[in-house]
Symmetry: C2
Amino acid sequence: MNKLLDLAKKRKSIRNYKEDDNIELEKILYALRVALEAPSGRNCQPWQFLIIRDKETKKIIRSICEAAEKEFHMKINNEFKEWLKKRGITWRKTFLTEAPYLILVYSNKECPYSIQSTWIAIGYLILALEEQGLASLTYTPSKTIEINKALNIPKKYRLETIIPIGYPAKEKEKEPRMKPSEKIFIDEWGKPLKQ
Amino acid sequence: MNKLLDLAKKRKSIRNYKEDDNIELEKILYALRVALEAPSGRNCQPWQFLIIRDKETKKIIRSICEAAEKEFHMKINNEFKEWLKKRGITWRKTFLTEAPYLILVYSNKECPYSIQSTWIAIGYLILALEEQGLASLTYTPSKTIEINKALNIPKKYRLETIIPIGYPAKEKEKEPRMKPSEKIFIDEWGKPLKQ
């Protein structure tokens, strides 16, 4: 048993993908079927998933994202700059064209708790991708209007995240997690659970 | 294999719990350990989990929530009233005192994408509870200030949801989900994936 914990521990955010790897669409579909089972406010199921595999479309998305990222990276403070540098993160978002698949996750703004519900489904989705042996990242572009225009997305939908999917090009360590004693309290705020 | 899909399909929102059932705290802790593995914006890990098992504290939380729910239920439209009635949902939140455990999930407002990241972790959590054979619900109270005051929560934390945990008192059907062809598009918006 205890399988979900192993899966969750193994799953890490991947920013470098092998290009053009032969990934069965069935694996992606399996993971999306898992996501569709998530609960949602008033069972509105606010999510919509758009799978992109066409190289030209990925290029358009990447160029829009990188233009916004360049602006963003000019404004950030030194501490965050250092954090990014350590991880080799720049304004370049190569994963948007390298990854064989992108999933754009949208939420219907007219549904109650649309953001919250959609992110539960994203939690389901990335675990299911891991179960299929596929790496992923939840990349949240800073400007989404132009992407939505380029892809003809109806106005009531909000782009929550872009998830590149594929096999990792480089091995990397998972970012460390804080201890349960720091994150789990019992009976009252600040009282750690004895383990 | 295909275990996560089975788990996700089985998991449903439960509003009626058996009281005082003997649930090992270890099971709750297991599920929380899964949640702590979720990814988060800048690895900030914005989540804090507060486990409540004390009957008196649960009563206080329930009475605050029900006062707000009474107000809320007076204002809702007929269509939504009908939806609630069909499911036997009223302003009464008995699950807040019936369930042996409540987990209050907080997000640190100072972290980037704190809401999104915390709801990924909630997705992980409810799947892990299901894996442990425990039922749950993500209940989002409409007013949280008084709860936070009663529990001495520092100002920078936002109450995202209250999750009652236990064994179901009544069997119920899972709310139906829309078809994958309605929710998954490929290559362009509106183009369903052939299955």
